[in-house]
């Protein structure tokens, strides 16, 4: 699967218009200079050979050099990745913090006022562009209170936490409606099952019923849903890092794309694809741990 992704990314970027050599050497470079750059980069070789070399380098952790900064793409990604990891982990935690209680309440109060209110806010949340939510939070929270920086990342743990709070909240607001909706549906179907009747018949009720019987069985679908969300979360990271001027890989991709820096775009894309594949694998493992009926076969 991974090799398929590498191939597709490589091929898509082959059709990119523009001469990489011209980009590197500059507008005033002579034809001879350009030829020299092309030789250096192996751009005159057949596409197959270029692809072979690219994959070979990849396996050694070499993602090529940025056209802009001339630095190794792997190093650029390395510098930026911690910000994005911060954003995604905090964002996912906040998503769970928001969506698990709301999903549970909506399911337990199905078709009552609370359920309708939660679903209404869900519709609103689905319709809000993440970057706009970020702008609103900046306007309504960051500017009046002054507690949170309007952009950038920090050095100490406390500063980082402060800088990441609003972006992570933005991410959570965007992704929670899906999770709430899915969790609600999963819980409702669990609550209709016979084993919930069994539990109630021996007197299991209230929080104990929800925790030990309902949530335990709805957790599997919940994790699967969260894994499916990873595509959205990554794109959310791209948009939100740009909104809050966070120097992460998402912002890096945007800067690279704006600057038509092909090796960097290639590197970032592969990174994101890798994350998605890894998250899917991880979710399989976690759901297997949550459901005794599933054996992990590898």
């Amino acid at each position: 699967m991974l090799f398929g992704i590498v191939l597709v990314v490589f091929l898509v970027l082959q059709i990119t218009p523009g001469d990489p050599a011209r980009q590197i050497a500059g507008l005033r470079a002579s034809e001879a200079d350009l030829e020299e750059v092309r030789q250096e980069l192996g751009l005159n070789d057949p596409v197959i050979a270029q692809y072979g070399r690219y994959v070979g380098n990849l396996l050694q952790g070499d993602l090529g050099y940025s056209y802009k900064s001339r630095k190794p793409v792997a190093d650029i990604i390395g510098d930026r990745i911690s910000v994005t990891v911060w954003l995604l982990t905090t964002g996912v935690l906040m998503t769970l913090l928001i969506s698990v209680p709301l999903g549970v309440v909506a399911a337990l109060r199905k078709d009552r006022v609370a359920d309708h209110a939660i679903r209404g806010f869900g519709l609103l949340g689905l319709s809000m562009p993440a970057f706009w939510t970020g702008v609103i939070l900046l306007l309504l929270v960051a500017l009046p209170t002054g507690w949170f920086p309007a952009g950038g990342f920090g050095d100490t743990f406390g500063e980082k936490l402060r800088a990441i709070f609003l972006p992570a909240l933005t991410l959570a607001i965007g992704s929670s409606p899906f999770i709430i909706r899915g969790l609600r549906a999963a819980m409702i179907s669990v609550m209709e099952s016979d084993y919930i009747s069994t539990a109630r018949s021996v007197g299991v009720a209230g929080g104990r019923l929800v925790r030990r019987f309902v949530l335990r069985n709805a957790a599997g679908p919940g994790v699967t849903l969260l894994a499916i969300e990873i595509g959205y979360l990554l794109f959310g990271a791209v948009v939100i890092e740009t909104t809050f001027a966070l120097p992460g890989v998402g912002q890096g991709l945007v800067i690279a794309a704006q600057g038509r820096d092909l090796p960097s775009v290639q590197g970032y894309t592969l990174l994101f694809a890798l994350v998605v594949v890894a998250v899917y694998l991880l979710s399989d493992v976690v759901t297997a741990m949550l459901d005794p009926r599933v054996e992990i076969d590898t």
Binding site: M1, G4, V8, V9, V12, L13, I15, T16, P17, L123, L124, L126, S127, M128, P129, A130, F131, W132, V135, I136, L138, L139, L143, R181, G182, L183, A185, A186, S189, V190, N217, G220, P221, V223, T224, L225, I228, I230, G231, Y232, L234, F235, V238, V239, T243, L253, V254, A257, Q258, R260, V265, T269, F272, A273, V275, V276, V277, T287, D291, V294
Partner: protein
Amino acid sequence: MTTPAFEAVPEAPQIAEASLAEPGAWKRMPKKVWVGCGIVLLYLLVALLAPVIAPYDPLAIEPANRLASPDMAHLLGTDELGRDIFSRLLYAARVDIPIGFLGALLPAILGTMLGAIAGYFGRWVDTAIMRTADVVQAFPAYILVIVLVFALGQGAGSIILAFTVLAWVIYARIIRGEVLRVRDRDYVQAARVAGLRKMRILRVHVFPNVINQTLVYLPNDIVFATLALAAFSFLGLGIPPPTPEWGAMIAEGQPFLRTNWWFATVPGLVIVGLGLGLSLIGEGLEEGLRA
């Protein structure tokens, strides 16, 4: 029997049992469908009549009057180049709405056709189409849109093409499942006995039955497409300036949040309104067709 519960993804496509073709089907639709239709119609009207309603040329620069506050002359003030924000908002509807609709409609059409073909003909046709779908789905879709737009160059065409290449998969899966379900029902069997050609069977008997499925998903996909377009433009990777576009306007307004807060916030409200209208239609259709 021992199928793990999570194999049925909770938001698995609900089978729409009722058909819109049935008499009275529209009457049974919940009220929210009509509210949603009203909102969307209003947006369409604005897009259509923008040149008539808009007080200014959306591209007309007025450097002497930049970043003006709202007053009677400029209802929402002016931007960094002195362009009338209200007029730009109206004209942006002519960009966002068509791209959002096309960006959802084309993949729906493509996916519906491929899904129907895969489901009906089966064998290698099915295998080929569904394998392709697997590969496409393995990618983080939005990231790939960035790459595709990077490769194809900015602009409306690239964005719509990128959406189409990526978003057909869900439709193909749903429709394929539906076709498989409908295919073996009596009346399709009867039609086959009557010697109808396969394509005609598809068109007359299977298509009307599966079209509901597409309809339920379409409004939500228009929301996604519109939001995505706005996001790409916000990132500077979508519709290039100076064409007015809601997402790009939010980006233009963000640096002036402290002084001209309406600049960045109002275009967002406009997007939310359209999204809400479409979501209401989608949710209402789903409820109405399931009942």
